[in-house]
Amino acid sequence: MADDPAQHVRSDAPPKPRESGRGWNWLLIVPFFGTFFPWIYNSRSPELIGLPFFYWYQMAWVPISVIITVLVYRATTGRRP
C-alpha cells in the first residue's frame, strides 16, 4: 500500500489486469437479505451478554459483510504485474 507515484504517471504502460469474474458480485446481495427484513430479527431473545437479538444480530452483519466484500474483492481482482 506504499505510494508508488510511478504508477500514476506511466500512462503509456501496458494496462494492468483488472477485475474479472463479475459473477462473484452477486454474493454482495447476501448482506441485503440479512438486514433488509427486520421481521426476521425484531425480537428480544436469544440475548447475548444482555444485548437483545435485534441489536447483536445487526452488529454481527458488519463483520459478515466485510468478509463477503473482501472475498468478492479477492475473487475479482486480477494479479498485478
Binding site: 500500500m1 506504499a2 505510494d3 507515484p5 504508477q7 500514476h8 506511466r10 500512462s11 503509456d12 504502460a13 494496462p15 494492468k16 483488472r18 477485475e19 474479472s20 463479475r22 458480485n25 454482495l28 446481495i29 448482506p31 441485503f32 440479512g34 438486514t35 433488509f36 427484513f37 427486520p38 421481521w39 425484531n42 425480537s43 428480544r44 451478554i49 444482555g50 444485548l51 437483545p52 435485534f54 441489536y55 445487526q58 452488529m59 452483519w61 458488519v62 463483520p63 459483510s65 466485510v66 463477503i68 466484500t69 473482501v70 468478492v72 474483492y73 481482482t77
Partner: protein, 544 residues
Amino acid sequence: MKDVKWVELTVFVLLFALVSVLGFVASRWRRAESLDHLDEWGLGGRSFGPWISWFLIGGDIYTAYTFVAVPGLMFAVGALGFFAVPYTILIFPMAFVVAPRLWSVAHRHGYVTPADFVRGRHGSSTLALAIALTGIVATMPYIALQLVGIGAVLKTMGINGEWPLVIAFVVLAAYTYQSGLRAPALIAFVKDALIYLVVLVAVIYIPIKLGGFDAIFGAANKKFAASKPPTDGTLLPDAQILGYSSLAFGSALALFLYPHSITGLLATRSRDTIRRNMAALPAYSFVLGLLALLGLMAIAAGVKPLTGASGKPDTNTVVPLLFDKMFPDWFAGVAFAAIGIGALVPAAIMSIAAANLWTRNIYKEYLRPNATHAEEARMSKLASLVVKAGAVAVILLLDPQFSIDLQLIGGVLIVQTLPAIVIGLYSRAAHAWGLLAGWAAGLGSGLYMLYDTPNPVTGKTHFGGAQYALTHFGLDTKVTLYTGVIALAVNLLVTFLVTAVVRMTKGAPLPDQTTPEDYGVESGDPGVEALPEGEHAPVPSAGR
C-alpha cells in the same frame, strides 16, 4: 462563566489547537507544484492511496452530527435510531460495484463533481445545473449541523455564547482555504484515532459502571413503557418495521450521492483504492452501532438533556452529558475533542464539495466559460469561505431546528439525483429530459410529502419527519415508509415515461462524451489523464 468545566475545556482547546496547526501544515503535505488547479486544491491531487482514503472517506461520512444525533435518537425513541447500522451495512456492497465506474469515467474525462459527469454523459447542461443545485442545497444544512455538534459539546462544558463557534469556524475556514482537501485528509487521522479510543473506552467502561447491558436495557424498557407515544421501545413496533428498513435503504442510496462523498471518492489514486475501501469502511459501522447504544446507556445513567433554544429538551446533548457524567474530567475533554474535531473534517470536505459544484457547474458553465485552471481554483477557494459563512449565519440567525429540518429535506432531495448519476453510469436508457422531468417530479412530491407530515410528539404540523403514512394512499394501516424512497419511485416513473415520449417524437439525440470503455479504466491505463479530443487510445474492455 462560573459553571465552566476548566479541565475539560483545557484538554478540548489543546487538541483543537493541535489539529488547527495540522490543517495549516497540510498544504505542504504530499506537496504539489502549486495549488492553483482545482484537482490539487479540491481533490488533493487525486493522489490518496488506500489508507489515507479510508480515513478521509470515513471522516467524511461519519460526521459529528451522526455521533450526537444517532444516540440522541436512540435516547428519544429507542430501536428506530439503530437504523444507522443496517444503513451502513447496505451501502458498501452497492458502492463496491458502482463507485469504481464513477472513478474511472471521472478520471478519463477530468470530472471534478457529480454534475460534471451528468453533463458529459447526458449532454445537457440544464440537467447538470439541476444536479449541482440539488447538491449545494442538500450540503449547506449538513455543514450547519456540524456546528450543532460542536455547539452541543460546548454547551455541556458550560459555554453558552456563540463566539466560540464562530472562532472554530473561522479557523476551519482559514486552513481549508489554505490547504484544500489535504487539510481534512490529514486531520482525519487524529479524528479517527480519538473517536476509536473514546468509543472503545466508553462501551467497556460505561456498561460496567451501569451494571451490564441487562441493567441498561431494563432501564430503557422502563422509560419507553412509561412514555406516552407507542412508537418507541427497545424493539420496533410492527407499524415501524417497513419504515425502519426503507429508511435504512433510502439513506444508503443517498450516502454516496452527496457531493462530499463523491469528492472523497474522486480524490483516491486508483479504482482499486475504492474497491479496497468499500471492503474496509464498514469498520466504522461497527463503531456507529456501539455509539448508538450510548443513547440507551444515557437512559440508564439518568441523563437529562439540556434545554435547547426552542425551550424543549435538546437530545443532541445526551452523549456529551453522558461522557461528562461517567468519565473523569480529563478524559471527558478528550471525548469532547473527538466530537468537535469530528465536526471539522466533514465540514471542510462539504464546503470544498459545494464550492467545486459552484465553480464547475455554475461559474464556469454560465458566467466565465473560459476560466483557466488557476481561476477555477481561486473561485472555489473563495466559494468555500462563502459556504462556511452561510452555515454560521444559518445557525446563529435561525432556530437550529430549522437546520435539522433542512437536513431531513436534504436527504430526500439528494436521492433524486440517483437516476441521472447511477443509471447514467450503466446506460443511456434514460434521456436527459426524462431525467430532468423525473428529478422535478421527485423533488415536488418529496417536498409535498414532507410538508404533509405532522409530528405529534413535538407538536409540529409540517416537516415533522421523513416517514410518510401510507394512509395517505388510501390504505387502512399504521405503516409508514421513508419519504425519500416514495419520491424516488415517482422520479423513476416520470423519468422513463418522459424518456419514452421523447424517444417517440424522435428529437435529435444529445451528445455523450463517454465511451463504454471509459467506465472500466484504471490508473496507468492509456488516456486516464484526459487526452485531447480524437486521441482516445483503445482500452481493453472490462469484461462485459
